[in-house]
């Protein structure tokens, strides 16, 4: 699997026949807040859903994720906030039996990249692209007077 799509933006090896869906599963109101931010920046959240882990056991969260992705028309992506969280563990359990890719450490920049590319990339290429873009966007800006 190539980490970047081929020139022209379409992953010819796994073209998206339908736009890739994604579910954002995070603590508290973070997933909803990220979707609001996506709406502000991109203008739409079509294809993105939010789910909070608040008040849910891991089993209940797993059931909630499963219910959402079972309504998808095809393979999709589950974005969670951080590795080691209940969101990660529940999504990883669902991934055993469902055709999803789980991305941990997801942030706004990655979701914007998802929105821009969900219609032109296959699921796997899109997930790999989001990971790469997400890592690239984490940088240190050193302050202080020279």
């Amino acid at each position: 699997m190539s980490p970047e799509p081929r020139p022209g933006g379409r992953d010819e090896a796994a073209p998206a026949t339908v736009p890739v869906p994604a579910l954002v599963v995070m603590h508290g109101d973070l997933a909803q807040a990220l979707l609001r931010a996506v709406e502000k920046v991109y203008g739409s959240t079509e294809g993105l859903e939010a789910l909070s882990n608040e008040g849910l056991s891991r089993d209940a969260l797993q059931a909630g994720i499963q219910q959402r992705i079972d309504a998808w028309p095809g393979a999709g992506i589950v974005c969670v906030d951080f590795w080691g969280s209940s969101c990660h563990a529940a999504a990883a359990c669902v991934a055993r039996t469902r055709d999803i890719v789980v991305i941990t450490g997801c942030h706004l920049g990655m979701l914007l990249d998802f929105m821009h590319n969900r219609e032109t990339h296959g699921r796997d290429a899109l997930a790999e692209r989001m990971r790469t873009k997400g890592l690239e966007s984490i940088r240190l800006v050193q302050g202080g007077a020279s």
């Binding site: 008040g55 056991s57 891991r58 590795w83 080691g84 209940s86 990660h88 563990a89 359990c93 055993r96």
Partner: protein, 164 residues
């Protein structure tokens, strides 16, 4: 003594444990005591993967009771996690001399009543809680270190043992 926290949490290893309690208590090891996970290699691997900076051991109740005293004198600190109050009681009944449990998360399920935002109990949970309390084991409700621990009996008088 290595044991620094015994916690009842239906999420087992998750953010509050990996990030918050671990930074507060600096454990070297986390013991997940859960019969289902201990007998499921995939679940055990997932639990270990969720806490890459800690040594995670996944054992069943019988094994946990067997190693409890040995771990108590081992170097480094250790956390113990069980999924339910019933597992906590089973561990105590199997011989682990645990003085108190932190009740950190028993989330909503059908048939359970709300105690607070992260603790819901049904009749079977209350029976297990009562049995633990009757053995002199303290049950303190507290999700994260910054929260004030409260006795479960104060939040849910229904678990108070019958002293008559």
């Amino acid at each position: 003594m290595s044991w620094v926290l015994h916690r009842v949490d239906d999420r087992l290893i998750h953010g509050q444990v990996v990030v918050t309690w671990s930074h507060h208590l600096h454990p070297a090891r986390v013991w997940v005591v859960d019969d289902a996970c201990a007998h499921n290699e995939w679940e055990s691997d997932l639990l270990r993967a969720c806490a890459p900076d800690l040594e995670v051991r996944v054992v069943d109740v019988a094994e946990a009771a067997r190693i409890y005293a040995e771990e108590a004198s081992a170097p480094g600190r250790a956390l113990l996690l069980v999924r339910t109050l019933q597992s906590a009681l089973a561990l105590v009944e199997a011989g682990a001399p645990i003085p108190r449990f932190n009740v950190g998360g028993l989330h909503y399920a059908a048939g359970k009543d709300k105690v607070n935002d992260y603790v819901y109990l049904d009749a079977d949970d209350r029976r297990a809680a009562r049995a633990l309390l009757e053995r002199g084991i303290a049950l303190e409700v507290q999700d994260v270190p910054a929260a004030r621990p409260e006795p479960l009996t104060a939040l849910d008088p229904g678990v108070t043992p019958d002293r008559s």
